[in-house]
């Protein structure tokens, strides 16, 4: 198991390095330059030259990359070109915010999705199954922007029961922060519910049709016990994969939700960095998401093997 994890971590580091190279060179292809995006399109050329020199963006591309990576591996992500401020605090704040929002969304959607899937599978082909599946699949295709605006109008302005701003004043209690995150989390719940519900439904249906389920039923286990002990455990496996693969989206892909609910998350940070060719910020942001994503998939793999003894220690023995 340890060897398996070490191997994965090693591979992860190589992946991250390749990612940093790709991001760097892809960013070079993007039009525009940092000094011009700071000074605006109508700035005097002399001012742009002066600022480029100050930022170091007039140096050769390879030299810029080398400077950046040598600092980065020693734990110094450097200064943002755009904000002229250290990246560390900017990124940490945004990452913590994104994790909070993702956590709230997960806490809401995972039980809902699994229950929805299991209930649908138990009623397979019946109206309840149809209703759940159609709702789930329809919700997946509603863009966050649309559901978000509808939610704000209904709950934030018309009924006035939930705050429409995800941000809370500094020093707010955890309770207040969670309260502010409910509304922004719902569009994410709507999008993810369909995925998780469908996976859980398929897993449950498959387990229900299996030999061991039939055996369990025939040996006289009560239905509730059978579902809890035998079905749920097996139907959860694919669900974990879905959750792990959606982590990247939930942490870094929420630009629209962050904008709409006015939330300072990592998605908007990376989006702005890419737009302004703020290269150190872009690299740091993308690598952070990469790390989060890898940790998530690695945890999923470990969890998977714990839940499924058949694949445990596969790579090792």
């Amino acid at each position: 198991m340890l060897v398996f994890i070490l191997k994965r971590v090693g591979l992860g580091l190589i992946t991250l390095w390749i990612l940093s190279v790709i991001v760097f060179f892809a960013a070079q292809v993007l039009p525009g330059d940092p000094a011009r995006s700071i000074l605006g399109p109508l700035a005097a050329p002399s001012a742009v030259t002066a600022l480029s020199h100050q930022l170091g963006t007039d140096k050769p591309v390879i030299e810029q990359y080398w400077t950046w990576i040598t600092h980065f591996v020693t734990g110094n992500p450097g200064n943002s070109y755009q904000y002229q401020a250290p990246i560390g605090p900017l990124l940490t704040t945004a990452l913590v915010n994104s994790l909070k929002l993702a956590a709230v969304a997960f806490i809401l959607v995972v039980p809902l999705g699994i229950i929805g899937g299991v209930v649908a599978a138990l009623n397979i082909g019946k109206p309840l199954d149809r209703v759940l599946s159609v709702f789930g699949l329809s919700a997946v295709v509603i863009p966050e922007l649309v559901s978000g605006i509808i939610l704000i109008l209904i709950f934030g302005i018309w009924l006035n029961v939930l705050p429409i701003e995800a941000s809370t004043p500094p020093g707010s209690s955890i309770g207040t922060q969670l309260y502010h995150l409910i509304l922004p989390a719902i569009p994410l719940v709507l999008i993810l519910f369909g995925y998780i519900q469908q996976m859980a439904r398929a897993g449950t249906a498959e387990a229900l049709a299996s030999d061991y389920a039939r055996t369990a039923t025939l040996k006289g286990l009560p239905r509730g016990v059978m579902i809890r002990r035998h079905i749920l455990r097996n139907s959860l496996l694919p669900t974990i994969t879905v959750i792990a693969t959606q982590t990247g989206y939930l942490i870094g892909g929420l630009v629209l939700v962050e904008t709409l609910f006015h939330y300072n998350g990592i998605g908007s940070l990376i989006y702005n960095a890419a737009n302004n060719k703020d290269f150190p910020m872009l690299e740091a942001g993308v690598l952070t998401i990469g790390i989060v994503y890898m940790v998530a998939t690695l945890s999923a793999d470990i969890l998977y093997s714990l839940l499924n003894p058949r694949i445990r220690y596969q790579g090792v023995e």
Partner: protein, 565 residues
């Protein structure tokens, strides 16, 4: 309106030649009372002096300053205390007075920083701020500013001429990453900024400039005065300035809090504090105002704001501005080499309809010259161009295109511009011209912003945005004069260049107006560019907010602001 000649003569005796010229213009009725106030302010006449002259000319004692629009003017006794919550565009880069170029950043600068003069967009008048008075030399090539006494920076140090000289030397230095160079470049160099004595600074200009005070006012948003030797790169840690509010905290991408400066030279503000929240788009700001999270939206555009525009719960402050869209046609590329073709395109447009449809009426019709209705020098006797499809077709035929032609219009994804491009293409189709649209993101569109490296400057037809300025100088020079850096139309006209040079140098309003008339007529005749409209600056507040003073450039001044229960 009876004129008291004796009183007026006494006042004339105390006035300079230029001031006397304005007094003559006023007495002769060629200058309205309001214009007199505006022009007098530019050349540095004191409000008391102007009031006395207006009174002698048989007027009421109303002096310009009380003409602010009702939604913003203070009604009744101001309420003391409280925190005003404002929504503003997030600064898109570091808040550094030298480099700031965006709406959010310049709004931050104006919270704690102050300028030599204040271009009050509500009163449409240039007012003293850190300078109490200013005077031009005979030909307008040297301007001398007297500084206010007893002004202190937030760290307690006094404001002196050295600070002003340092500020403008940094801003006008081409070795610096100064955004103010787009205003000061070619106008003044660091060597031209001179200390006369501890409270007087003189600007020796590269060429006479009649509207120079605007370039050291809040219009030139980078020009807040900083202490001598101050490192601009550190400014966002302290926000040091002389203004009515001091920095409490600034958090990138999140917001900024300010507290009242009790020792402000103009007296402490009514509010205890202000709290700005940063947004990256408009819709959440409108929702925040509706949901009660903020009291003020510093600046918004009419598109997508219908829910607050027609709602009595909110006060909308609408400012005339020179913010506009410019459609350029390459004068050196067929078929636009023929002025008749360019005129035909301009004649196909229904301008009032565009203002209504694209700006929900919050704008002024343009006449294909940068002379916006808000500029006092704009010559309104030049006839307004209106839609005339028959004449447009006739011009096209005469130019050898009886069946029209086909071309491409390149533009940027910004505010209502893609919709405007669509409207232009539809209008052109009525005279047989087929316009294909190419809408790019702003980075691609502007490119390197130099000839040969920019779709904006190189496209055969190009539609671009120009932000508000207090005077038309930059609009007249950069995009239209032969040596201009943004001449997307490749318009080269010696007569025009000469007229603009004279206009920029002219110190008195009548000369400016005469020259403006000539420039406007010439541009109508040649039509290198089309300016369909000027867009009003819009600020929204809840009905309990009073006394805010926004600018069309998206700054907001809150010294006199207060909130009623």
């Amino acid at each position: 309106m009876a004129t008291d000649d004796r009183e007026l003569d006494a006042l004339r005796g105390k006035s300079s030649e230029l001031e006397n010229h304005y007094i003559d213009e006023l007495a002769a009725g060629r200058l309205s009372r309001r214009q007199f106030m505006r022009k007098g302010a530019v050349i540095g006449m004191s409000t008391t002096m102007m009031g006395a002259i207006l009174a002698a000319c048989g007027g009421a004692n109303s002096v310009g300053t009380s003409s602010a629009s009702s939604s913003a003017s203070a009604s009744g006794t101001p309420t003391k205390g409280g925190t005003l919550k404002l929504a503003t565009q997030a600064p898109s880069a570091a808040v550094n007075p030298l480099t700031v170029a965006d709406a959010g950043g310049l709004c931050m600068l104006a919270q704690t920083g102050e300028f030599l003069a204040f271009d009050d967009n509500l009163a449409l008048q240039l007012k003293p701020m850190l300078a109490t008075a200013w005077k031009p030399s005979q030909n307008g090539a040297v301007w001398t500013f007297s500084l206010r006494q007893g002004v202190k920076f937030h760290d307690g140090s006094p404001l002196t001429a050295d600070d002003v000289v340092y500020t403008f030397q940094q801003l006008s230095n081409t070795k610096n990453a100064s955004n103010a160079l787009s205003n000061l470049g070619g106008v003044v160099t660091p060597d031209g900024v001179k200390k006369v004595d501890a409270s007087t600074v003189a600007f020796h200009l590269e060429a006479p400039n009649g509207n120079f005070p605007y370039l050291v006012s809040s219009d030139n948003y980078n020009a807040i005065i900083v202490p001598k030797g101050y490192d601009y790169g550190n400014w966002q840690k302290t926000f040091i300035g002389t203004g009515p509010f001091k920095l409490k905290s600034y958090t990138q991408n999140v917001g900024a809090d300010f507290i009242a400066n009790p020792t402000y030279w103009g007296g402490a503000p009514h509010l205890d504090s202000t709290a700005f929240t940063f947004y990256t788009s408009q819709q959440p700001q409108i929702l925040a105002l509706q949901g009660g999270t903020v009291d003020v939206i510093v600046q918004f555009v009419a598109q997508g704001a219908q829910s607050i525009l027609n709602n009595t719960q909110y006060a909308i402050i609408s400012l005339k501005s020179s913010n506009h869209r410019e459609l350029s046609m390459r004068n050196d590329m067929t078929p636009f080499t023929d002025p008749r073709v360019r005129q035909a395109i301009a004649l196909s447009l229904d301008r009032p309809g565009m203002v209504q449809a694209l700006l929900t009426g919050k704008g002024q019709v343009g006449n294909d010259s940068p002379f916006a209705p808000k500029f006092p020098s704009t010559n309104t006797s030049v006839p307004q161009r209106t839609q005339d499809i028959a004449k447009a077709k006739q011009l096209l035929s005469a130019a050898g295109h009886p069946n029209g032609f086909s071309t491409t219009l390149t533009t940027e994804q910004y505010e209502e511009i893609p919709a405007l491009a669509q409207v232009i293409a539809e209008a052109a189709s009525k005279i047989g011209v087929t316009i294909k649209l190419k809408v790019e993101n702003q980075t691609d569109y502007y490119g390197k912003a130099t000839y040969g490296n920019s779709d904006w400057l190189d496209a055969i037809m190009s539609l671009v945005d120009y932000g508000d300025r207090g005077v038309p100088n930059v609009f007249l020079e950069s995009p239209l004069s032969s040596g201009g850096p943004w001449n997307a139309a490749r318009f080269h006209n010696k007569t025009y260049d000469g007229l603009v040079k004279q206009y920029v140098a002219a110190v008195d309003l009548q000369t400016q107006k005469t020259l403006a008339g000539k420039i406007e007529s010439l541009l109508l005749q040649e039509t290198p560019i089309v300016i369909p409209y000027f867009i009003d600056g819009l600020t929204a507040t809840t009905s309990t907010v009073h006394g805010v003073n926004p600018t069309a450039l998206s700054a907001i001044f809150l010294k006199d602001a207060y909130k009623t229960a």
